[in-house]
């Protein structure tokens, strides 16, 4: 009988450091009409937003908890604080950010990354942005990158009202309704026509408060012929009570525009990550999703692309790593509407130490989507028999003039490959980590170098726990 040795996971030190909670305001826990009204008052919402929140709450109470995915029984909304405001205004220089918060972001490498490789950064701490800045040369191109609250009340108010939660409506599902009711923070980006933002913008979301929720809203509009790479990162320290992330991302990719949206998600392992992301792509446009999911206790995450315009396209490249105590249900959705549209999904899932990873997808090709092409490739790696890996793809094809392909594979690390690397002097642990890094190469090679290094470090960190 084969024997396996297990080694404890090593400390996720930089992600797990907790700041002492010293909030400016913490909403009482729970979800009632009074709480929503209070939140709206605290946020100084315009009237339409106040009504929108209350209507969303009504919808939230009507909709059922999904029963097709991982259990979220451990999430009790009566014990979640939906709004926690840190003692800081939004600043545009790191020097003005309170010391403890600034140190947290420095440990995460955000200011350093901004200096080296980013065109602009937004940093959210609990429910509010504490830092937002965009490089002068990018601002001079007419690129708008600001926090959602400022956008909603300032000169872009009409634009926000026109687009906000029109793509992901509160009726979409229970946690979209929750988001509509309690959202706060997040970023607004507008890239003018024919503008090429050659270096990425980044938003980083840090949830420090125990038993709290983070509900940031990201709204990006890339106008005709423009090009943007947006990076999103997130993390939180681990607590022994549930935290919740129910953010929402809405992406509007106009005619012949291109948007790449990259995410490295590394929430703590007490987090319920019930996030919703969606893009609508006009004629000739393209959206590319790059997604690495490493954290969270439970995750539901399926970025969706609506290929509305003729010749529009999407690519989704993802890796999910589920370790001990994690149940990560991830994947992607695409709807082909326009003619000559194309989509490609390429994913890798890794399960270890009792982790559960599920790849879930849908490819819908409507009758109008003549000459649509879609290919899905998903591979799963099982590192032990305590873990679980499921693949649940679905295709709904309604035109004969389509070409749809799908392939999936589930397996384990080849003993021959491990033996080969060990015969060349590698330890078994390093050999297995190298094989897993190679397995996840589809994502790391799509990321900017600094983020690819971070992702590979995360994989090595996770792999430290298994020799088998």
């Amino acid at each position: 009988m084969e024997e396996k040795t297990y080694v404890e996971d090593i400390d996720r030190s930089i992600y797990d450091i907790k700041d002492v909670e010293d909030d400016d305001f913490r909403m009482q826990e729970g979800l009632t009409e009074e709480i929503i009204k209070k939140l709206s008052e605290e946020k100084d919402d315009p009237e339409w937003m106040r009504e929108f929140r209350l209507e969303s709450l009504k919808i939230y109470n009507e909709l059922k908890v999904p029963d097709w995915g991982p259990s979220i029984e451990g999430l009790d909304m009566d014990h979640i604080a939906t709004y926690v405001r840190p003692k800081s205004n939004m600043e545009n220089t790191w020097e003005n950010v309170p010391q403890d918060i600034k140190e947290t972001f420095e440990r995460l490498g955000i200011p350093q990354a901004e200096r080296k490789s980013l065109a602009g950064v937004g940093a959210q701490y609990d429910s509010e942005l504490v830092y937002h800045n965009v490089k002068d040369e990018v601002a001079e191109q007419g690129v708008i990158y600001t926090d959602m609250e400022s956008a909603m009340k300032g000169e872009y108010a009409d634009m926000v009202k026109e687009y906000f939660m029109k793509l992901v409506t509160p009726r979409d599902h229970k946690f979209a309704a929750l988001h509509g009711a309690v959202w706060s923070g997040g970023s607004f980006v507008y890239v003018p026509k024919n503008t090429d933002v050659s270096i990425p913008l980044q938003s980083y979301f840090r949830l420090n408060a125990k038993g709290a929720g983070q509900f940031e809203h990201t709204l990006i509009i890339v106008d005709e012929g423009a090009n943007l790479h947006f990076i999103e990162g997130c993390s939180a320290p681990k607590y022994n009570v549930a935290n919740l992330h129910a953010g929402c991302v809405e992406l509007y990719v106009k005619k012949n525009a291109k948007l790449r949206y990259s995410t490295i998600e590394n929430w703590s392992k007490n987090m319920y990550n019930l996030n919703t992301k969606r893009a609508v792509v006009e004629e000739g446009g393209a959206v590319e999703w790059v997604s690495g999911s490493f954290g969270s206790h439970v995750g539901y995450l399926y970025p969706m692309s609506v290929l509305k315009g003729d010749n529009s396209r999407m690519e989704f490249t993802g890796v999910t790593f589920a370790g001990n105590g994690q149940n990560l249900d991830t994947g992607a959705k695409v709807v082909h509407i326009g003619k000559n549209t194309s989509s490609y999904m390429n994913t890798r899932s890794i399960s270890k130490s009792g982790g559960i990873s599920t790849f879930r997808s849908s490819v819908v090709v409507q009758k109008t989507a003549i000459n649509a092409k879609s290919a899905v490739s998903c591979e799963s790696l099982m590192l032990d028999s305590e873990s679980r890996s499921d693949t649940i793809p679905a295709m709904d094809i309604r035109t004969k003039d389509a070409n749809i392909g799908h392939e999936a594979k589930i397996g384990s690390i080849s003993d021959d490959a491990v033996f080969y690397l060990m015969s060349r002097g590698m330890s078994e642990e390093d050999a297995r980590a190298l094989i897993v890094s190679g397995f996840a190469d589809n994502v790391s090679k799509e990321l900017p170098l600094e983020y690819a290094v971070e992702m590979n470090n995360l994989i090595r960190l996770e792999m430290k726990g298994s020799i088998g």
């Binding site: 097709w68 849908s362 499921d390 649940i392």
Partner: protein, 333 residues
Amino acid sequence: MTELESKSSKNNKDNAIDIMDINAMPAKTWYWLGVNSAELSWNKNGESLLGEKAFTLNAGRKYEDVIISYSDIKSEFNHDRIVINAAEGSEMTLITRLDMSYNMRLYFDIKIGKNAKLKLIELCKVGDNTIYSDIDTTCDEGGEFELIHMFTGMKRLKDDKKEGKIYSNVKVDLVGDKSDFRYDMGYLAQGNDIFDYNIIVNHIGKKTNCEITANGALRDSAHKIFRGTIDFKTGSSNSTGAETETVLMLGDDVVNKTVPVILCSEENVSGTHGASIGELDEETLFYFESRGIDKAVAEDIMARASIERLSGLIENEKVKEIIEDILKDVLGK
């Protein structure tokens, strides 16, 4: 070869139609896709029971082929149950032919003993009626189950709005080590036909194997759902499962839904699935056109081929003739 004829034994006593939830996937997905299960409208209380057929196969014995034909049924709703107990080392091929204009529900309860072999061939032709086939099989160590399914609907005139419905549920538990399941399906859905399939293979024993191959064509406004689940349970080490589906979309209003699922809680297994969905590819079309064959004829040939390939898996000449007869009937040539 033995041939059995089935006739209805009693009349309908109740006209109430029940909605039965059938063909449920073991792992659900988004409800809006409409694939988690199917609804069957059925008069359960008023159905005629055709009498249970039981086959007890003695150890080590090889039986001659048996054909059961359900073409002469007269009640509106009919139900039959076939029980097969194949003892160690026994072998048999059973062919069922469902070709009728009335509604039929057929349930199989199959136990395949150690090193026994069972081949089940089910030939279904639907008109304006509904056929529901439900197969539940357990395989012991070294047992082999081969299932061949042919599902066809009638050729229809353009303004014919009637529909035939076929529902098929297959569950196979590969309990014994080295047990094996091979499944080949061919189908042709036409007019407004609705074909709804659900296949679940549970790998429980070690070194178990399954191969699922589904090929078919959809014409006119036909709808089809294929759910195929390969489930590697903990302990099913060194098992393999493969699932491939090819769908030829030949009508302007056809709808194809495919959900190929792999569930896995065992490390040392290999599971794959692949699906290819679309119309005739340009290369194939060019091949036909270069030989003077136009697109419509080429599509007929390919639709026929997806079913005719089943004949190559069947030794029994009479069964091959039945397949040919059905094909002539449903293709109209």
